[in-house]
Homo-oligomer: 440 residues x 2
Amino acid sequence: PQFVPQPSAMASPAEPNRNPKYDPKKPHITDLPITRANWYKHINWLNVFFIIGIPVMGCVTALWTPLRLKTAIWAVVYYFWTGLGITAGYHRLWAHKSYSARLPLKLFLAAVGGGAVEGSIRWWSRDHRAHHRYTDTNKDPYSVRKGLLYSHIGWMVMKQNPKRIGRTDITDLNEDPVVVWQHRHYLKVVLFMGLIFPTLTAGLGWGDWMGGFIYAGILRIFFVQQATFCVNSLAHWLGEQPFDDRNSPRDHIITAFVTLGEGYHNFHHEFPSDYRNAITWYQYDPTKWCIWLWGKLGLAYNLKQFRSNEIEKGRVQQLQKKLDQKRAQLDWGIPLEQLPVIEWDDYVEQVNNGRGLVAIAGIVHDVTDFINEHPGGKALIRSGLGKDATAMFNGGVYLHSNAAHNLLSTMRVGVIRGGCEVEIWKRAQRENKDVDYVKD
Amino acid sequence: PQFVPQPSAMASPAEPNRNPKYDPKKPHITDLPITRANWYKHINWLNVFFIIGIPVMGCVTALWTPLRLKTAIWAVVYYFWTGLGITAGYHRLWAHKSYSARLPLKLFLAAVGGGAVEGSIRWWSRDHRAHHRYTDTNKDPYSVRKGLLYSHIGWMVMKQNPKRIGRTDITDLNEDPVVVWQHRHYLKVVLFMGLIFPTLTAGLGWGDWMGGFIYAGILRIFFVQQATFCVNSLAHWLGEQPFDDRNSPRDHIITAFVTLGEGYHNFHHEFPSDYRNAITWYQYDPTKWCIWLWGKLGLAYNLKQFRSNEIEKGRVQQLQKKLDQKRAQLDWGIPLEQLPVIEWDDYVEQVNNGRGLVAIAGIVHDVTDFINEHPGGKALIRSGLGKDATAMFNGGVYLHSNAAHNLLSTMRVGVIRGGCEVEIWKRAQRENKDVDYVKD
Ligand code: HEM
Ligand code: HEM
Ligand SMILES: [Fe+2]
Ligand SMILES: [Fe+2]
Ligand SMILES: [Fe+2]
Ligand SMILES: [Fe+2]
């Protein structure tokens, strides 16, 4: 049989690079170690300017820009819109196709998503698909294994080798006119939706041009970026792992609050094509609520959900895994196959010689030191010595607790050849042997 | 083999009855149904007087008895002493032998335990041992299966057929001089420790004779009784069952607060000879703290603890049980043995005829409806159709999540005769058959 041919529906290898000077034959800067002479070449200065420089300038300018109530409200509202552009648009609609949207909703999401200043849908989704396909590996563009700060912001601040990022299939995005249009006119979209539109609204609306620019523009961008970056950092670092603990994604309410509901990230990595991140009504997932509402309004359709049966299966399996780990740490007594095999006669003889042995379910237990401790009294436990006490122990006299069974298993010293006394007796019958040892 | 003889170290059958007029030959009142003519004969009027009558009288009198601060403090202190007499003395020391006590401590516990007015150690412990041995059955003196109110107080208010209560071994108690002495002089002990001593203390101490009698005497008795009765009612009704859910005992912090730490009752019924009811430091078990302190002071010794390994085993087993119950409610796909067996050739032919079948781990799956939904893209899943996609699915192309495996199992339609493709191939080799169907 020959080698299985790989399908070609992939982004071309040079795709993640937007630098026209890039030559795939020359060694990439990331292949060289960081030194005192070249460190500045390792930094992506454009991104530093966008992610750190502008916000710092915004903060400084804010010191002498008065904040008006209307502008504050507008900044918060626009924060939620642009945040939703990323979570409901970039992430759940385009990167994961977890639902479908009609054109007006798509245009809205492509516009406000652009206003969050996190790259084009096409670029963002390709990286995000690589993040899911190669989670925690070197091909993951923002692997938390490289450090919390790296996954939060480092991967943008430092230059990346475009060959490193895992390849993914983005044929569907290349066929989506809204995605293609937004990618082609990305700079215009960013400038307009990121800064001009929020400034215009505040300026034309209530004359606060400067406040609109600083608060609803620059500082709002900063907060939306930091919040959504938390999905790559905090959501892979803080919380529980109810579905799978082989990789880093985690569920936490704090991350959910920061990220408009993207904080149930262990669930999300396990069920990425589900339009929900939180599945119970009391968990915080406003992105899900919006998509659901758009569905009711006819703007969204084909909202995908994993069957609850499949989700619960995942939960049960993970609980089982944790339980097995806990079980493996406990002492379950000498395994039966390591115990010596004892003849019934020898067992009875040893008891007659004074050892406190009791046979239960075909296994001989040494209870000598336990007789005085026995919660059911000395007399009862003594009445089982040298006998087959299986029935007695299991309800004939007293139905012992689970704890008593566990304790019993720590007292194992041997296995009776042929099993319980009744088995011995049957075997003797079969073999027509003398059955005089079945006394009492 | 003959019938196993029962040991005789038991309380004699007539033991629980303290009524000299009782004739075991006459039908007992509890054997007759309650009617309008005989209802008052079903009631244990003496107990009604002690448990309900006196407290009511105390409450009424309290209305014109001023409560002085010193008396209030004394009543609370004496409440804790007499409560401890029951929990640390009657219960953990005598009924369960979970530790041993030196004579001064025994005398103290026998005295203050008497002051709680709940019967003699001997009577209380025998009933309590029956409660543990026959929990929730008809032989349980205060079975919660007969109702919460019955387990709390009904079993004392209503007459009991002494033959009903399960028999238990109290030889050890009959050999303990403190127990025998307290039983013999029970009335004197109750009167002195229940009423005279608390009154004397308040009277001689700060001249509050009436307050001492009403508050530290009568009302304190009432509260101590109701609190400790909660171990029989609330502790079998409210809370979690981390160790065993076959019977009624439960763990709850509220019950623990009310009962000086006896509220971890699921643990207690599973490990009754452990001197602790709560095993972690942050759980509320002041009775345990006192016993531990007495141990440090040399007043108590031989404090029994179950090995933490055994306790954790019980917890793991109970979690496993709950998980198995949850698992049983889920749909795990058609069991393999119910699937039709398909020849490899037939599988390939069906795919050539247009069905979307994929063989993974020797099982054929129908993914026709899933191809367009596949999160990894149509192309990749199509590349597996008609082939043995085991390696592809399990990391060769993409290491699918647990959720994907679960989903896959719902798509099963058949089993390949001979297992995976490589197995078919090997078998063909063995059988010297033509292997032309192993293409690509
Ligand atoms: C062989 C004959 C035995 C008989 C007839 C017998 C009988 C009893 C009875 C009647 C009780 C109830 C105590 C009470 O609450 O009053 C009891 C409790 C108990 N017995 Fe045995 N016992 C036997 C052997 C053993 C052995 C070999 C073990 C060793 C593990 C054992 C461990 C326990 C434990 C831990 C309890 C405490 C209650 C519980 O956890 O269920 N017994 N037994
Ligand atoms: C037979 C060859 C298959 C190949 C090569 C393949 C490949 C892939 C790839 C590359 C992804 C990653 C998607 C991404 O995050 O970009 C993926 C995801 C997924 N595939 Fe497949 N797939 C195959 C068959 C199947 C089948 C038969 C199922 C049916 C259960 C399936 C279910 C899924 C699911 C549920 C995901 C989402 C991610 C996950 O849960 O792991 N795949 N697949
Ligand atoms: Fe992630
Ligand atoms: Fe995602
Ligand atoms: Fe109980
Ligand atoms: Fe108990």
